[in-house]
Amino acid sequence: MPTATTEITVRGASPMVDVPEGYSWMGCDDFEREAPRRRVYVPQFWMDKYPVTNDDYAVFVAETQTPAPSYWINGAAPEGYGDHPVMVSWRNAEAYARWAGKRLPTEAEWEKAAGGAQGHVFPWGDHFDADRALTWETGAVTGTRSEPVTARPQGASPYGCEQMVGLVEEWVDDVYRGYSGSGYDSIGYTQGYRVLRGGSWIFSQTHARITYRCFEEPDLSDEHFWGLGGPSFRCASSVAPQPELRA
């Protein structure tokens, strides 16, 4: 029986895709920090199709007087970067999501939206393809550190989320801890870090797997965001976005 969804005002420029309720794969047994691979139930939710852009974030900055990222110039994104992902701390990502009437996705939601329901290694399937995501396999030679969020439709996940891997890492809501039942321990699990997903232009295909996990402190300084690429994020919602934002 279809569940009625209550529609409320959910802001933000990205279209959202509908991820149906159901079981998904999560984790990978080949890597200690990703094990064990198991089935997880994820309720229905909506996920931003794209990472939040500098232009999206500028509306939030203007409305809330949140300080602009330090790589912006005179309070605005560098020329030509309006439709590129914004790079911010977890703290600011979470504040933006709340302002937009949304929230950060959980780690399980992120992985499901990226192809976990289908058990993929990468959003598009099981074989790496340097054309479908901006990773080090390309960046090492071209020096490309950023691109528009709409630049890789060929890298879409089965639910239609784009740029899930490569380009920029993405904050999710979860605190970085070991998965239960893994039997593996890391000093990083005790630090209150937040989880980063999807790898980025500076990382190889190892990090573009949908099960890959990284982490950073939630108040991460943006000192090196311009040179190294900083984390971005996309928003999720348990309630339906306005009709014009449905992908």
Partner: protein
């Protein structure tokens, strides 16, 4: 004592024989296959700040970015025992030639890390934070590179140190897909040289013995992320 020993190089002899190279986990590392390799010698540890300083003073070569200042070295003598980092492939090659040595080949490097039994990490098949410094633990420990005498538990089966983590290492080869691999990418088109072993900046997936990635030979890393180091080898 040979000139090589005077410059602080301590070699480990790796016996000739067969070993497992590559991994089917990633297309750039595939296929896994058995390789025959003659005996060779490889540095027990990556080239240190002290060793590189000796080279730079004798040859007038410019010091890499983030290289410790004389005052920093005076304040903390252990700083000289960190691996040198942020050197280009050209710097590494020039050092090796100056020292009468060469960079290891990619096959030699992988044999040194994986031993004769094809292990995943220098010490075995399971990652262990007590044995290497990678992003998993570096962030919480508050370290970047660490002195080469630290993490002795990370030694390979033959006694080679810091093949996993600490500083990424240039090898001689250009990065190309292995014969039989389906991988194609700009980085594997022959312009890049191979980097091995991961570093403090990368999580442990980069520290696997089969992991490889490429960078242009002039690459020296990034502010805030460190950059490549190297070790030397010689034929026997």
């Amino acid at each position: 004592m040979s000139a090589v020993e005077l410059r602080g190089h301590e070699f480990v002899r790796i016996p000739g024989g067969s070993f497992l190279m590559g991994s089917d986990e990633f297309d750039l590392e595939a296929p896994e296959r058995t390789i025959e390799l003659p005996a060779f010698e490889i540095d027990r540890s990556p080239v240190t700040v002290a060793q590189y300083l000796h080279f730079a003073r004798e040859t007038g070569r410019e010091l890499p970015a983030d290289f410790p200042t004389p005052a920093q070295l005076d304040d903390d003598p252990r700083r000289a025992q960190h691996p040198v980092e942020r050197v280009s492939w050209h710097d590494a090659t020039a050092y090796a030639e100056w020292a009468g040595l060469r960079l290891p080949t990619e096959q030699e490097w992988e044999r040194a890390s994986r031993g004769a039994d094809g292990r995943r990490f220098p010490w075995g098949d399971r990652f262990d934070e007590a044995r290497a410094v990678v992003w998993d633990n570096a962030k919480a420990l508050g370290v970047t590179t660490v002195p080469v005498e630290q993490f002795p538990g990370g030694e390979s089966a033959d006694g080679v140190r810091h093949l996993a983590g600490n500083v990424e290492e240039w090898v001689m080869d250009a990065l190309l897909p292995y014969p039989g691999s389906t991988h194609t990418s700009p980085s594997a088109s022959g312009q890049c040289r191979v980097l091995r072993g991961g570093s403090w900046f990368y999580t442990n997936e980069y520290a696997r013995g089969s992991f490889r990635r490429g960078a242009l030979p002039e690459f020296t890393g990034y502010d805030g992320a460190g950059g490549p180091g190297f070790r030397c080898a010689r034929s026997v």
